[in-house]
Symmetry: C3
Subunit: 349 residues, 3 copies
């Protein structure tokens, strides 16, 4: 009997199954520095203790996507080691801020299963929760992945497809309790645009481009202790579908978010990810550009200081986004588009 | 109207204009570790709390060039996003030491303007100050850049060229107040050479070479939140003048400084940069070598423990420096030379 | 006279010589984050303060190999700058745990010398000790290297070859004093296998592969302030034996150790390295696989909570290890095998 983890196959999952994931992880100022260095992020609240304290935080919190990737990474050995494709995210709500020194752990519940018609794969829906060392929830989200069956002949489970919200409602967004808008300094944050300055339907070209190197995405993905083979093993991937390693889609999310600073500098916190799709693969050497569409302005109940801004941020490779590349009338994405992320940020009013 | 920052053009600047730069930045032990890992620096004061405490510091301060690059990086979106060339530095004085946990912010004043004869570009001189969260100055310097005009037809400003010192005088160098020479251990610092062992005119070949990878310079430059496009975007730079991304000149300074340990190990603090020129471009794959010439020994007023050593450190690519490659009689640099940095370090007497 | 360190040659060493190495180094959470990001390590004790505290540590200690590489790196400028080959390690015992913030220093004693028959090189044995700022030993080990002579005509020293143990005895392994087995959580650590579940002779294929990039090994090796030229200088190495830079053997050890998580997740601490050989060179682009053989189970005197597991971990490049590639009957390694490491880990019983 082998001691090596072969990962779970489709028939290993059952609805209601609960999994506590290895490896718990303390995030530190070291992770924050690497996150900045690998993504180029420069939002003021996450970059400066002094700025964060001026608006009511005890210190600079860690970047929301660093938290997301860390929790996500934990789930890979249990959920997606035998995944064919990462199909989507939904209902992702960020909770307590994460400070350097916090220890995160992750657990998941299987909430849906459906075998595919080919009998070789199935779709697994899991709801994952990340918690800090005090048991406070820092993140919860649903993702669904297509997972291989171990044996094509295994009987299919009773199909169960969860009902997921199209977007996280304003009342579920966690706003920082002590946020003090008087301390917000637009010169230091980088832009003067506030909640009321963005209009639904508005499109913003983030202008800048960032080329991704092999060492960069692999280093970032190891930082998250994500073990998906496709990102790390050139020996096998060189023989595979693309002939090369695939960039972790979360790294592309982070690069696009960092690029979005240019036009959305005051959108300092990701409060929710309503949905997201990795539309086309990204490889080392690709240059990522991004643009955003303002989907909706959300009032936060009882909060006059902050508003929510629901955005679609699209990332494209080797294609400047002044022309806002998007789906066509049939819902098909151009080959250049790699990410379509629907999320909600908090921004001072 | 776009929300994206297009950067300032030459006609947007006026003498006396003051700019507070985004994004303030807390530097941490994470940044220090990355600085070591990306540059190879190994000066004992910055590497070891125990060594730093033995000579009177409360702990290991952050590397002076990490501080320089961080402050410099802040200025890019406001000063040099439309720069054609970074022409020089002068009058750079380092002040209060920066500790892990300090939050730095940067502000600049335009102190000179002169349109070029071609009517398409002009030179902008700015004096930049970096401060910590207590308002103490950690750094001040002047740099000048050639910036594009938005409209060639815009009228030129009244020329104003600042008068800059050729070197920072000894009386302006900030020496650590509590420095205790009795605690300096030459075995741990790496060399026995002290202030009196260096003679003006002496040349030192630092011997070692360091090859720069694309992922390394880009990661370092993102760490400093420097957004100059030429360092990051292969998609556009591939079509540009060099066909590739340009290594941030500050990274070359840091690599040369790290190499200078071999022969200048006791020159533990950069107190001033008197002037500096990036003489030729550096690209990924280039191997950097360095040599230094001792320009002058400076007595620090009232300080018997430390002296100043004014140095010219020259970096060359793919060319060992045993032959001390330098300007010829007409002041022309060989193509191999990439950096000519005139600066002053503190060294125990 | 040059101020540049040319390194010691064979005739510069004498038995009994003691060397205190530059540069002392404070290891921090920044180094820990980089170590995770560059190697992919994910052992729970080193990853999470909360997990470490649950089993009796005050917080997560730094990875043992990060400590090893840091101490080793210090010795390079004095011991192996003119080395032709790093021949082996023995009698390596890890002592006090190292916490973020600890300042390490290193010292060595020459314990053996033997000139080679060719008269051009000789073998130097050194015993190196790493200590923290309180003078507690964190590591001691012997290594031997082949070093060039400065002058082939110099007279050979009296041969002195130290007697080294084949393995570190169980009584010399340092087990954490306050280790509490009740706090060990197999779901969080990643596997259920304990000391008693491993049998001598058992072979474990760690399954995963990790490709090493030039920027990754160079960044890791600079983090350790290791200055061996072969890892960093493409300009000279391009003309050398392999036509390219050599990956630091210690980085390969770290990658193999990280891969060994898959099958040895509970082997949380390296207590000793009994011996180790870098069998073939590794270059950027190589994909590292690993497998382990259980050599022996060791009872720790008076310790019912923890046991020792003596392992041989073999790393191979571009060769999956399901077939357990190993020496042939004549003791010759296949070209794919790059590392044969004999070490002892602690694991809960």
């Amino acid at each position: 009997m082998t001691k090596t983890n072969p990962g779970n196959f489709f028939e290993d999952f059952r609805v209601g199954q609960r999994i506590r994931h290895a490896t718990p992880r303390t995030l530190t100022a070291g992770d924050a520095a690497l996150y900045t260095a690998l993504t180029g992020s420069r939002f003021a609240v996450q970059s400066s203790d002094a700025f964060a304290q001026a608006v009511g935080y005890e210190r600079a919190p860690l970047d929301d996507l660093l938290v997301f990737h860390t929790v996500f990474g934990k789930t890979v050995p249990d959920i997606s080691l035998n995944a064919v494709a990462n199909l989507g995210y939904a209902d992702c709500v960020f909770g307590a801020p994460v400070w350097p020194g916090d220890s995160l752990s992750a657990r998941s519940e299987v909430i849906g299963l459906r075998e595919n018609a080919n009998g070789k794969t199935g779709i697994v829906w899991v709801r994952t929760v990340g918690e800090n060392q005090r048991g406070a929830r820092v993140l919860g989200y649903v993702r669904w992945v297509m997972v291989r069956k171990r044996n094509a002949g295994a009987p299919p489970p009773e199909p169960a497809v969860p009902d997921l919200p199209g977007a996280v409602a304003a009342g579920r967004l966690a706003a920082p309790a002590a946020f003090d808008p008087a301390g917000w300094d637009d010169e230091l944050s980088g832009e003067t645009w506030r909640w009321g300055d963005y209009a639904p339907g508005e499109k913003i070209d983030h202008a800048d481009g960032m080329t991704i190197e092999e060492a960069e995405h692999a280093t970032a993905t190891r930082l998250y202790q994500n073990t998906a083979k496709v990102h790390f093993n050139q020996h096998t991937e060189g023989e595979g579908r693309f002939g090369r390693r695939l960039v972790y889609g979360g790294h592309v999310m982070s690069v696009a978010r960092a690029l979005s600073f240019n036009g959305l500098a005051n959108g300092f916190r990701i409060a929710a990810i309503n949905g997201g799709r990795h539309v086309n693969p990204v490889f080392a050497g690709d240059t990522i550009y991004a643009w955003s569409e303002v989907v909706e302005r959300l009032e936060l109940p009882g909060n006059a200081a902050l508003g929510g801004l629901r955005l679609r941020t699209m990332a494209a490779k080797d294609t400047p986004c002044a022309g806002f590349p998007d789906r066509d009338g049939d819902g098909r994405y151009p080959e250049s588009v790699v990410l379509d992320l629907d999320y909600t940020v908090l921004i001072p009013r």
